[in-house]
């Protein structure tokens, strides 16, 4: 273990991280948001899911520094009279959960399909790549509208609220797998011509073993880079879907549905319901994107060979 740590400390990754202020800052911000999301029940002053905290007389209270605000609700309250800070913390949790979950699903699907079509080639390759083209020509919004309409009609709106998180993960995950499949396939095409793959074949390894434990580890850096970008994309997709009312229900709002619910009150002067979740969303996406940029520069084999 100590050996691994000291190896990491002498690596180029650590060196580049240490010397990049943006990387450090965005990493710290992202970790802070992640910790807040994970420990939401401990940190947030109220539990927004509890019906006790819905109190219509408290609705649309401004933040504490504005007249009419109260120290009880630091960032004011939303249209239901819930503490906005607590609701945002729980919403952040849902947004991050969906973002990471959708990217995991995309990655698993995309990596398996990309590996197979890159390695096997021929008709299988053409089939999967055309499938990817078809998938990309559907807007994920359209897919989500279809699926959620069908689901709500079949099982009722109440049931939908309970399974909204896995539903969104599946919709966003399914919509974006071609990104991974294409990236992985391109790397596999480059890697499989290299001599170590030939050598592995000469050694008598089977195709699955060669794909999984020889080629895949060599394709990891583009996958890492893509993943950071895709997490940011998935968070935004979820926000967009929720904003359109296709995502998280009002009872368990994500950042996107909070922005949406505040939107109706923005002209009556309650700007904070939309503004604060919006700022958190921008910070979250920005920090993830900046981490991704740094990772792309660091792992780019054209800039650094190790």
């Amino acid at each position: 273990m100590m050996d691994k740590i000291s190896k990491f400390r002498s690596s180029y990754l650590w060196y580049s991280f240490k010397n990049d202020k943006f990387a450090i800052a965005s990493f710290l911000v992202f970790m802070l948001l992640l910790i807040i999301a994970v420990f939401a029940p401990l940190i947030s002053p109220y539990n927004p899911y509890s019906p006790d905290n819905i109190f219509i007389l408290n609705a649309e209270m401004p933040p504490f520094w504005i007249d009419g605000g109260s120290k009880e609700f630091l960032l004011g309250t939303d249209d239901q009279g819930r503490d906005l800070l607590s609701t945002m913390i729980y919403g952040l949790r849902i947004s991050i959960m969906i973002g990471i979950g959708a990217v995991l699903l995309q990655a698993i699907l995309g990596i398996i399909i990309g590996l197979i079509s890159g390695y096997v080639g021929g008709k299988i390759d053409s089939f999967f790549m055309r499938l990817a083209d078809v998938q990309l020509s559907f807007s994920y919004l359209m897919v989500a509208i279809f699926l959620s309409a069908i689901f709500k009609a079949a099982f009722g709106v109440g049931t939908f609220g309970e399974v909204a998180v896995p539903f969104l993960i599946i919709v966003i995950g399914l919509a974006q797998w071609p990104q991974y499949a294409r990236t992985v396939r391109a790397s596999v095409l480059a890697e499989k011509e290299k001599e170590y793959v030939q050598a592995a074949r000469v050694t008598g390894f089977g195709s699955v073993k060669i794909m999984w434990s020889h080629i895949l580890p060599n394709c990891l850096s583009p996958i890492f880079v893509l993943s950071t970008i895709q997490v940011a994309n998935a968070v935004m997709s979820e926000a967009a879907l929720s904003f359109l009312g296709l995502g998280m229900p009002v009872t368990r709002p994500s950042l996107g549905s909070l922005i949406n619910s505040g939107f109706e009150y923005i002209f009556s002067g309650s700007w904070w319901i939309t503004a604060f979740p919006g700022i958190v969303l921008v910070i979250l996406v920005l920090s993830v994107n900046m981490l991704g940029d740094w990772l792309r520069d660091t792992l780019n084999p054209k800039l650094y060979k190790g």
Binding site: K194, E195, Y196, Q198, A199, A200, R201, V202, T203, G204, F205, G206, K209, S213, H214, P217, N218, L220, G306
Partner: protein
């Protein structure tokens, strides 16, 4: 006479191209005794590597073995199915490649690569596999092998990597090693060291060696017998030293004359004029005739056969030598 380890008979390898089928290996036959060292020599594109790969049935897609037998201990490899050939690859027959920088997987430690090779072929535990790996690394003179197992390929020099590759090919104690230009990517002093090591290991373990190279100097130092290939055919085969000292086929003569040592000082280096024909454009008659200095009329029309000439102790495929000399 000891038993035959490998007997390649009338091997034909074709490639299906868009413009039709081309023959890369045309009716090649040779054999290898147990523990014998055999050299395959020729220019780039002569079909040396394809011959090597077809022995373990590793010709990639457009290519396939059209006909012929590859008898490995009286077992025809050309007819084996995928699963059975996999049990022979890397187990009974190992292969060493040209570029040691490329042959090792850059993201796996040496230990991982050695242990997984062993465990793929032998029913042994990880710690036993580790023991064997350490022992083989010692055999190729890698210092402190236990520590080295934890390191990645980029932490080794070129010569060391090639020694590690040799160690990997030795893991399962194979009976035959096919070395495809094993020293081309290394500098001359390391070349000698690697060849010396390979030779010594083959002798001590009784392994057969097929050395594929364009380097006549290496062949003459290492092998017992050799075959010269041109445009997919063997054109001369026999005892290595006899061929080097007294080449009979005009192409072999040209090759040996082209060695820098053959030219006297201050003179231009000798060369064989022209290039080897592309696979689709092999000329009629003897495929070497457009470049041959001793071309006769018959060479334009008739394809010479590879015949054994007892007096000369070798097989030659050239019209210059006729029945009388057999």
């Amino acid at each position: 006479m000891s038993e035959k380890l490998l007997d390649v008979k009338n091997l034909v390898v074709n490639f299906k191209m868009r413009s039709g089928e081309v023959t890369a290996i045309d009716n090649v036959s040779f054999s290898l005794l147990k523990g014998e060292k055999f050299g395959l020599v020729g220019e780039s594109g002569a079909g040396k590597s394809v011959t090597g790969f077809s022995i373990i049935k590793l010709i990639s897609k457009p290519g396939y073995i059209k006909s012929g037998e590859i008898l490995f201990k009286n077992n025809d490899l050309a007819k084996l199915d995928y699963e059975s050939i996999r049990k022979i690859r890397g187990n009974r027959i190992s292969m060493i490649f040209q570029d040691p920088m490329m042959t090792l997987n850059p993201v796996l430690t040496i230990g991982t690569q050695m242990i997984e090779t062993l465990m793929a072929h032998k029913n042994i535990s990880k710690s036993e596999a580790r023991k064997i790996a350490v022992e083989k690394l010692k055999k190729v003179h890698i210092p402190s092998p236990e520590k080295r197992l934890e390191q990645y390929p980029h932490e080794f020099s070129g010569g060391m990597r090639q020694r590690i590759i040799i160690a990997i090919s030795l893991l399962t104690d194979p009976e035959l090693i096919i070395a495809d230009e094993p020293t081309t990517a290394l500098d001359v002093t390391i070349q000698a060291e690697i060849m010396e090591l390979l030779l010594q290991l083959c002798d001590s373990m009784g392994m057969g060696l097929i050395l594929i190279t364009h380097d006549l100097a290496v062949v003459s130092q290492v092998t017992d017998r050799m075959a010269v290939m041109y445009a997919g055919k063997i054109i001369e085969e026999g005892n290595t030293l006899e061929i080097i000292e007294n080449p009979k086929h005009p192409y072999t003569e040209g090759l040996i004359a082209a060695l820098p040592e053959s030219a006297s000082t201050k003179e231009k280096l000798n060369q064989i004029p022209g290039n080897m024909p592309g696979l689709g454009k092999i000329p009629e008659g003897c495929s070497f005739h457009p470049r041959c200095t001793k071309m006769m009329d018959i060479c334009l029309t008739e394809v010479p056969e590879l015949k054994e000439y007892k007096k000369l102790h070798r097989k030659i495929s050239c019209h210059l030598y006729n029945e009388k000399e057999q």
